[in-house]
Symmetry: C2
Subunit: 175 residues, 2 copies
């Protein structure tokens, strides 16, 4: 839709079109896996990636998925992606949106793709009467933090996430 803002009369091959956001489909599983791996490398956590095309297909494109994936294209080329799901605030009594992943290929940064993805999801949040839109950032990732603050986001200091996984999760379930 944002593409429509670019008047055809000034479009030339040298003129970069605005980012275009579309929902991901089953045909995007390899692309999504590439983006997930590239983001993990950037976050210095590549060793933690366990997913594959089959798992992406099963969890995001079969049955009734609870998580949703968007692809950002510029000039018809996929340049980034975002994955989000709905969370819930008991204090607000409303759903919210949690952005699990946001990634733009390094060679396509500075073209508005990240902002376009965030604006698009904020629109989904507003359309669904969500009370908030949030995500996690590694505390050393200053460029991203400054970018998020420029878009109105604020850090929620004072909270720590605790996690149970692997064998500890099985053990807890059997206590």
């Amino acid at each position: 839709m944002i593409l429509c803002l670019v008047p055809e009369t000034i479009y030339t091959t040298n003129f970069m079109t605005a980012p275009f956001i579309r929902e991901a489909t089953l045909q995007d599983t390899a692309l999504i896996l590439d983006f997930i791996n590239a983001l993990a490398v950037y976050e210095k956590l590549a060793h933690e990636v366990e997913t594959n095309e089959q798992m992406i297909a099963e969890t995001l494109f079969w049955g009734n998925p609870k998580a949703h994936c968007l692809i950002c294209e510029i000039d018809g080329q996929p340049v980034g992606f975002a994955l989000y799901f709905f969370n819930y605030s008991t204090w607000k009594g409303r759903y919210g949106i949690y952005l699990e992943d946001l990634f733009v290929s390094p060679e396509h940064r500075g073209k508005g793709a990240g902002k376009a993805l965030l604006v698009h999801i904020a629109g989904i949040a507003v359309a669904n009467k969500c009370g908030r839109f949030e995500w996690s950032v590694l505390d050393w990732n200053t460029p991203s933090i400054e970018f998020y603050k420029s878009l109105g986001a604020r850090p929620m200091h004072g909270w720590d996430i605790y996690r149970v996984d692997g064998e500890a999760l099985e053990d807890l379930a059997n206590k």
Copy 2:
């Protein structure tokens, strides 16, 4: 189900039964609101509660809710609640469970209600092939942190949550 572990032959009015977990229903909206308010008072954030019975009913018990609420009872009395939803790990390619709220009334602590709720939800996570089970804790809440660690949870240091809400969310959606 846990109730069944108590042999009837040793049940007396002085013998406390094990906690019993059930799914919340529309009839529990007032009870859930009481628990939400009591938890917010404990977290010194009572002024942030905006929800009411109508909002709880609409978001958790009408249509196709994305968040789920459990009630814990001891001797037939509701003593606590938990609210969770499914999240997603792109690295694992699997869903997880996020525990938004866990609360046990102060007068009923030490009877195993909190642990029973966590064990029950861990079981739901395992049954749904979830990769992880996680929640947020205020960093000054040492008693809870020690309790969670004793059940196998570990803190995920290095990540900060960023949030956009209210007017900033509307503004972002309209950028």
